[in-house]
């Protein structure tokens, strides 16, 4: 037998609403189930204590205006709940506002105080890129001279590098390639190829 069903029947038994068949079924179950026996005992104890309570006599005057007092109490508690909710809502607004202010402040900080990232220029034409550099130099010969000295410095840095020292054939007279004819270049190319193969 299911204990849950027995618990329900026990409650009905106390109220005196249980059939004889169910009462017998309960008795049979209680003999076997200790947990339901304990539940039945505690239920009986509660019932006995409740019935032993003194009946409080209420004056007829108490009942007069009972409904209006109840209504008034209910309304006041409803108002209280509304106020509490309104307060909670206003705090929600305060927190939302604070969060919004924080976001705006961080945004402004990033916008105003962070150093701007240098914009990278994408090169799709060598000539245009060179032209833009020459345009920046313009007729400023002093600037061009300084720029040239920096370029030479950079070239020297690379040429001074050990890796380049190992390849002096490519390093020396880098721009003298210009003076060579197509045939000379082809000859050099074939010679280098031979060199690589050997």
């Amino acid at each position: 037998m299911n204990c849950t069903k027995i618990e329900k029947w026990l409650s009905d038994q106390i109220d005196g609403e249980l059939s004889e068949r169910k009462t017998r079924a309960i008795e049979a179950h209680l003999e076997k189930c200790a947990s339901c026996r304990s539940y039945a005992a505690s239920l009986e104890k509660i019932h006995d204590e409740a019935t032993s309570l003194e009946r409080v006599e209420v004056s007829p005057a108490f009942w007069e205006g009972f409904a209006s007092r109840l209504k008034a109490n209910l309304e006041s508690s409803r108002e209280e709940r509304k106020e509490k909710r309104a307060l909670a809502l206003s705090w929600n607004w305060v927190w939302s506002g604070a969060a919004l202010l924080a976001v705006v402040a961080v945004g402004l900080y990033l916008l105003l105080f962070q150093s701007p990232q240098p914009q990278e220029m994408y090169v799709f034409s060598l000539e245009n890129s060179l032209a833009s550099i020459y345009q920046e130099i313009g007729d400023d010969s002093e600037l061009e001279e300084l720029f040239n000295s920096i370029l030479v410095e950079s070239i020297d840095e690379y040429i001074g590098d050990s890796e380049w020292k190992e390849r002096p054939d490519l390093l020396e007279n880098l721009l003298l390639w210009e003076g060579l004819t197509e045939e000379e270049i082809e000859f050099l190319e074939s010679e280098i190829k031979k060199d690589i193969k050997s």
Binding site: S125, F147, N148, S149, L170, L174, E178
Partner: protein, 171 residues
Amino acid sequence: MKAKSILVLFLNIVILSAFVSAGVQEEAQAREKARRMTRENITTLMLIRMTRFLELTEDQTAKIYPFFTRIEKEKMQINQQLRRQMRELRLALSAEDPDAEGLKATIQAIKELRDALKSKDTELEKHLEKNLTVIQQAKYLVFVTTFFNELRSQLNRARMMRERAGQKEKK
């Protein structure tokens, strides 16, 4: 006497203008020389850096360097012509009544030179495509961008150096 003084004055003017014109020409030549040097230095630096960045083999270097320098030489010549044409255009525009036909011809010449420059760039790119691996081609695009951005910062460095030198002189 009067005729003599007029003649002397005339001769003085001629000599003076010859000196001025020689000075202007010299200045233009010096500027041209400086520009040529800048371009050569940029090309040299670019080739050295490119060889490293793309890890070119000697075989590739042998194929790319001569081609690169030839294209550069041709581009330099085109640029010289372009500058000459631009000078002519400015002169023509500064005249009171610019000759429309002459302007048209100069515009056409400038357009053709500009196209020639573009085609040289394309020619170089095609040659690189033929001789570089796909990874090197990709690296080349990154390299060129980086290289020109670096050139810009070097130019800024030159400006700052001059400013600092100027401030020291003031002190």
